[in-house]
């Protein structure tokens, strides 16, 4: 099946990228843009049919590699 993982910075953790993107958008004529945060979006193909097993494995992957849990949160979503 397919899985989608969102990795985002925890609240309060400085996001230099988001900040710079926000500034640029303001400068480029989008004054309505306020706070911007950038995260990662990872799509994976899984040779696994059991949803619960898949979720558990993905959770492991996030902890081991996909997310840096000291400063990032992650969320897992299974699609078909």
């Amino acid at each position: 099946m397919k899985a989608r993982v969102h990795v985002t910075l925890k609240n309060g953790v400085l996001d230099p990228q988001g900040k710079a993107i926000g500034h640029s958008l303001n400068r480029l004529g989008f004054p309505e843009v306020g706070d911007v945060r950038q995260g990662k979006f990872i799509e994976l193909e899984l040779a696994e049919t059991d949803k619960t097993k898949a979720k558990a494995r993905l959770d492991e992957m996030c902890k081991k590699l996909l997310a840096n849990t000291v400063i990032e949160n992650y969320s897992i979503e299974l699609v078909g």
Partner: protein, 233 residues
């Protein structure tokens, strides 16, 4: 040759290229702040290396939108030569001045060190002091130099001789295992630099400006600037 070096927030190799230009022309280039809508007439425009806007979002994406780039595009269209190095290459690609994109290095690491380049043609403002097929040694320093373009674009580039430099091994081998080993970032077809259609804009990842003095990395980059002086003065 009157040169203008653009400076964006986060540019950091503008001094290196200014140093190289002064070495060959005997005169300092004009440094142009990104906010400028306009700047003095120049025979050559340089987009220098660095981390404009921190390389955030996509390398060069934000700089490509700065006011001064509109002017650069206008002048490039009129045929004013543009030399786009490293982050400058990324900016030029984002601005559509040269074809293709620069993606994250294959090994995902910043890579700094000398590489060998094969000069594809001597028929350009930038390479007239080199021989076609000549191998030169210059440094690279980047994390996003992995050149990519779709098949049609690549074919067009090859057909029209728009490829400026390719990574190669010291003996000039481009493909094969060595050729790939010599490729620091995974660029498709070992492409290190490309031209626009009129060959008046050149984008390249390596740093000829850091190879212009004997004890500081060799002189193989100097001919590029000398060639420009010859062509533009």
């Amino acid at each position: 040759m009157k040169a203008a070096v653009l400076v964006f927030p986060g540019s950091n190799r503008e001094g290196d290229v200014a140093q190289a230009i002064e070495l060959v022309t005997g005169r300092k280039p004009q440094m142009v702040w990104h906010g400028a809508g306009d700047f003095d007439k120049a025979d050559l425009i340089v987009l220098p290396g660095g981390f404009s806007y921190g390389d955030y979002l996509r390398c060069g994406a934000m700089a490509a939108q700065s006011p001064v780039m509109a002017e650069v595009k206008k002048r490039a269209a009129q045929g004013v030569p543009v030399l786009a190095i490293c982050n400058g290459f990324q900016i030029a690609a984002e601005a559509g001045l040269v074809p293709g994109v620069l993606m994250r290095n294959e090994k995902l690491k910043f890579v700094c060190g000398d590489v060998h380049l094969k000069v594809e043609t001597s028929q350009s403002l930038f390479t007239n002091r080199y021989q076609a097929g000549q191998v030169i040694k210059v440094p690279v320093a980047h994390a996003e130099g992995n050149y990519f373009a779709d098949a049609d674009t690549l074919k067009r580039l090859e057909d029209r001789g728009q490829i400026a430099f390719r990574y190669c091994s010291a003996d000039g081998t481009v493909d094969g295992p060595l050729g790939h080993e010599a490729n620091p970032n995974g660029s498709i077809r070992n492409i290190a630099g490309v031209y626009n259609e009129t060959k008046t804009v050149m984008g390249l990842m390596p740093h000829p400006e850091n190879a212009v003095e004997p004890i500081f990395g060799g002189c193989d980059g100097k001919a590029l600037f000398e060639g420009l002086v010859e062509a533009l003065s």
